[in-house]
Symmetry: C2
Subunit: 236 residues, 2 copies
């Protein structure tokens, strides 16, 4: 009955079966506990119960392992944002603004709930090919499901988390224009503006000068910032 095969995820034998994902899981655990600096290749291997050099059969080196953690973090952030946006009922008056606020709060909520993973998701890495290029020049970003077909796989291709959240933001901003709340003249570049506000808020409250704020002060500051952002978008 023992599964001595390596093709299935049996944990017993010489060949692990799914070492790459096991290492990523372990590394994500490390990141959750200690941020990007805690993503230590040897520690991940130790957790999985495998020799350090085994990791090199699946990753070029530690930076690539960290990159996988980044992708996982962005994925989870996107999921959190999606859930927050979905929680806003369509029936809500000013549903678009509310969705915008919910998205921002989801973003910051993730940063506060998963600081290590959040820091890892946005930590600097040398050759961090995180494109997301034209998008602002008018072209649509290469989001999966954008072209014909290609949909359904739940795990997704990974790294698409960044695109998922970006696409979400684009839709909400378009919604603001469609609802007549935002002048079309203000629409171009609004993605950067919105993302900057929410991301800056998250990082400054997490690690920056606003970390000492009490929970109440923090929540109030978040509310004010997001409403000021919407006020800027909806200004004439």
């Amino acid at each position: 009955m023992e599964d001595s095969s390596g093709t299935t995820a049996g944990k017993g034998r010489y060949h692990h079966g799914d070492l790459r994902n096991a290492l990523i899981d372990a590394a994500v655990g490390l990141a959750r506990a200690g941020g990007p600096d805690a993503v230590v290749l040897r520690a991940a291997a130790r957790r999985v119960g495998v020799s350090p050099t085994a990791a090199y059969r699946h990753f070029a080196g530690q930076p690539e392992l960290l990159f996988a953690v980044k992708e996982a973090g962005q994925q989870r952030l996107a999921e959190r944002m999606e859930a927050a946006v979905r929680a806003v009922p369509d029936t809500h008056p000013r549903a678009v603004e509310e969705r915008m606020l919910a998205m921002g709060r989801g973003y910051i909520g993730f940063a506060l709930d998963e600081p290590g993973l959040f820091r890892s998701a946005f930590c600097h890495t040398a050759d961090d090919v995180t494109r997301l290029p034209a998008a602002l020049s008018g072209e649509a970003p290469p989001v999966p499901g954008d072209g014909p077909a290609a949909e359904g796989l739940p795990g997704a291709d990974a790294d698409e988390g960044q695109f998922r959240s970006f696409r979400m933001l684009v839709e909400i901003l378009d919604g603001l224009v469609d609802a007549g709340r935002m002048s079309p003249a203000r629409r171009p570049g609004a993605e950067v503006t919105a993302w900057s506000m929410v991301h800056g808020l998250s990082t400054l409250v997490l690690d920056g000068p606003f970390a000492p704020l009490t929970e109440e002060q923090r929540d109030a500051a978040v509310d004010i910032a997001l409403r000021t952002l919407v006020a800027g978008f909806t200004a004439p």
Copy 2:
């Protein structure tokens, strides 16, 4: 003529004379080149031409050295912002708005010109006692020169760079209200809002999803974001 004393900054002998500052300078150099991860105690000691353990006479350990680099980075950022704000002539109509924009552009300009130092200035460190507490509860932050006397020393106490820039931001926001451009109702919490936007913009353009933008796209995005911020502040 040789200065074999250690009290002056003679570089010749057994006792360095100003090793602490020399190590900080070296560490800042490392940070400029490679960000916070490049702030390696042994490398700094090597640059100064001293044994690694000598550093422990002046720092509790590597984290404390990194902290000194953070302070230096915040100091330089504040100087850059001050210069940018000063460059706006008082005679300018809407001088307050212009100063606001200049400050933001100075901030982002520093991030782009000194990415390693900027990342170091805002990198996460465990016991990073960077208070800046009540400030939002109405109390004034403990800025030097706030109380009676205490002014003139150019080098400052260090770490006050954070307070310097914060104080600058407060003054400009107050100016917006005084000029009647910003509703007093929007004033509370505006520091967090403004700083978040500018900081988020900087980090996302530096390391985040907007890093691939061309210089033109980047400048345009910065302009849009800052103007949206001002629009939010000056909205009714």
